[in-house]
């Protein structure tokens, strides 16, 4: 969730600056010339960068969310992971269960942060921020792409916290910088997909409460029907079919391949995530107008 809206103190307060120097002779020379418009392919990356910077600035001012959201993955690794490592109940192909679990929890924590991103969009709609952004020279698809990647960047920072925690618990992960960059890319793609899924639902239900309910209802099924906690092969047939349609499974598979070096289908995984993100961006962009009305 985003920081609180701009709530001023309750006192009737114009600061001294308000009354200061009416007619102040501040130079407005730059404000007389409109900037040259960016066009073509440069527009979307520029907007994506602008939205990502805002997300990072907000995180810099208020890291509370980063810490509170780290609690749940920490518990999954510390309690669930440590216990099931001892039980040896889940066939992981020779990898300690905690190691097997870590990429799943990274994907899960990134998904949790992205799946409620729609709430931020509804808040921005209510606050007038979205309306104002929609009046800027930013096509809706560029705005949604920007928001999607901003959610992805937020998810990467969250994932980083989990990676550090997993490393402290002794999970044997790669430190190859190229692979870690690929990990970040996979987390961004997953974040982009799930945040757009959330924005799409926001565009349908239009209210924060309903979105909260739906978000709660779908996160656990997405998590349990993926390969985050156990390999797909031990699932019943029907659940395997669900798992195949769940982008989280592909994200977990890619993360396991990259972080642990276990056999993965990287090409397929990334292709599925790219297509899923693109479809979700298209759906969320198409429904954004409903939020603006």
């Amino acid at each position: 969730m985003s920081a609180a809206p701009a709530v001023p103190p309750a006192v009737s307060a114009e600061t001294p600056a308000a009354g200061a120097a009416p007619g102040s002779s501040a130079s407005l020379s730059l404000l007389l010339v409109a900037p040259r418009a960016r066009t073509g392919w440069q527009l979307v990356p520029a907007r994506v960068l602008a939205m990502c910077i805002v997300e990072l600035q907000k995180l810099r001012h208020d890291r509370t969310e980063l810490y509170t959201r780290a609690v749940q993955p920490a518990l999954w690794l510390l309690i669930f992971g440590e216990t099931f490592t001892r039980i040896h109940a889940i066939p992981t192909g020779g990898v300690p269960y905690l190691d097997f679990l870590a990429p799943g929890i990274i994907a899960q924590s990134a998904m949790f942060i992205a799946i409620f991103y729609g709430i931020q969009i509804i808040w921005e709609r209510d606050a007038g921020i979205l309306t104002k952004l929609l009046v800027t020279p930013t096509p809706r698809a560029a705005l949604v792409t920007g928001k999607a990647f901003a959610a992805g960047v937020k998810a990467v920072i969250q994932a980083l916290v989990v990676v550090v925690f997993a490393a402290i618990l002794g999970v044997g992960m790669t430190w190859n910088p190229l692979k870690l960059i690929a990990v970040a890319l996979v987390v961004i793609l997953g974040g982009a997909f799930f945040s757009c899924l959330s924005m799409t639902i926001a565009g349908i239900v239009l209210s924060r409460d309903r979105l909260m309910g739906i978000g709660q209802a779908i996160t656990m099924p997405l998590f349990f029907s993926s390969s985050a906690l156990y390999p797909v092969t031990i699932m019943p047939g029907w659940l395997q079919a669900v798992s195949k349609a769940n982008p989280l499974s592909y994200q977990v598979d890619a993360l396991r391949g990259l972080l642990l070096g276990s056999p993965a289908h990287l090409g397929t995984d990334i292709a599925v995530l790219v297509v899923a993100a693109a479809l979700a961006i298209a759906a969320a962009s198409a429904l954004l107008g409903r939020l603006a009305k």
Binding site: A18, A21, P22, A34, V54, P139
Partner: protein, 291 residues
């Protein structure tokens, strides 16, 4: 008040000089007609006030002009660009401050403005000085690096003004810019608008409930009621037109005269005046947040 018109207005002078030209605009929410055959021309360089009670259709008209709503019937042009077909060009000419307090409380004042500098493609080397100028123009330089969440209501409004100014718009659209502000903050916001207008020559289209503000700061006003313009002219003209009916009429008298008892509500008009729960909630929330 002085207006800055282009030196050589080509073609039809009235058309060319129009910042906004709105003809035959209709807009309905379900069976409720929010805007009903609106014809409106805002001249380049003027401060134009669109007045009316809640539900008069002001905000709907503004949202159509700002490209937020489609234009189902009628036509709107902004400096000659068709709002329906040339959205991006129109948006580049606009600075928009919505009714809600739309600055992001989780960012500093400077960051709030920088975001808009970025989305309007201000080149990197020019960004910092331009943002600094916008901050200075609204007297927020000292508070630039504080979170906007700590600002007073008047400061937030001035910050939003700076956000709108950073792209050097030719048309500044302000939807109820002083709603909920105390008198000192209201004056401060209007002083900034007035100064900036004089310095840049930009056109200002403003909606307001406050007749005194309209009288003091607007070159021309349109009184809007139930989706239509009921009277249009300079505040002095409108008052003069009514002087035969009332002694020393105020703009509020003019408004009552044209809007009739619909202004007071209490009739079946209440169910058809276009103001829904969300409008009221949004207005009250803004007023509440301003404190």
């Amino acid at each position: 008040m002085s207006t800055l018109l282009p030196e050589n207005s080509p073609g039809d002078a009235a058309e060319a000089a129009a910042a906004v030209c709105c003809t035959g605009l209709d807009y309905a929410f379900g069976s409720t007609k929010a805007v009903d055959g609106l014809d409106l021309t805002v001249r380049t360089g003027e401060v134009f006030g669109l007045l009316g009670p809640n539900g008069a259709g002001k905000t709907t008209a503004i949202r159509a002009i700002t490209t937020l709503l489609p234009v189902p019937t009628g036509m709107i042009t902004v400096f000659g660009h068709d709002v329906a077909t040339d959205r991006m060009a129109v948006r580049r000419l606009l600075g928009y401050v919505p009714q809600q307090l739309s600055a992001d409380g989780g960012l500093t004042g400077r960051e709030n403005i920088s975001l808009f500098a970025r989305v309007y493609d201000v080149p990197r080397r020019e960004r910092a000085p331009r943002v600094a100028e916008a901050l200075a123009a609204v007297a927020l330089t000292d508070a630039a690096d504080r979170l906007a969440g700590t600002y007073s209501g008047g400061m937030v409004r001035r910050l939003e003004l700076a956000q709108a100014l950073v792209s050097a718009p030719r048309l500044l659209i302000l939807d109820e810019p002083t709603i909920g502000l105390d008198p000192i903050a209201r004056t401060s916001v209007w002083e900034r608008i007035d100064e900036i207008r004089h310095a840049t020559g930009m056109t200002v289209l403003v909606t307001t409930h406050y007749m005194d503000e309209a009288e003091q700061y607007c070159d021309r006003v349109a009184l809007m009621h139930r989706g239509r313009i009921r009277a249009l002219g300079t505040p002095d003209q409108l008052k003069a037109d009514l002087s035969g009916v009332l002694e020393a009429p105020t703009l509020e008298d003019v408004f009552r005269h044209h809007a009739g008892q619909g202004l007071h509500g209490g009739s079946s008009a209440d169910t058809s005046d276009g103001e829904d729960f969300r409008d009221v909630r949004s207005t009250r929330r803004t007023a509440g947040r301003v404190g």
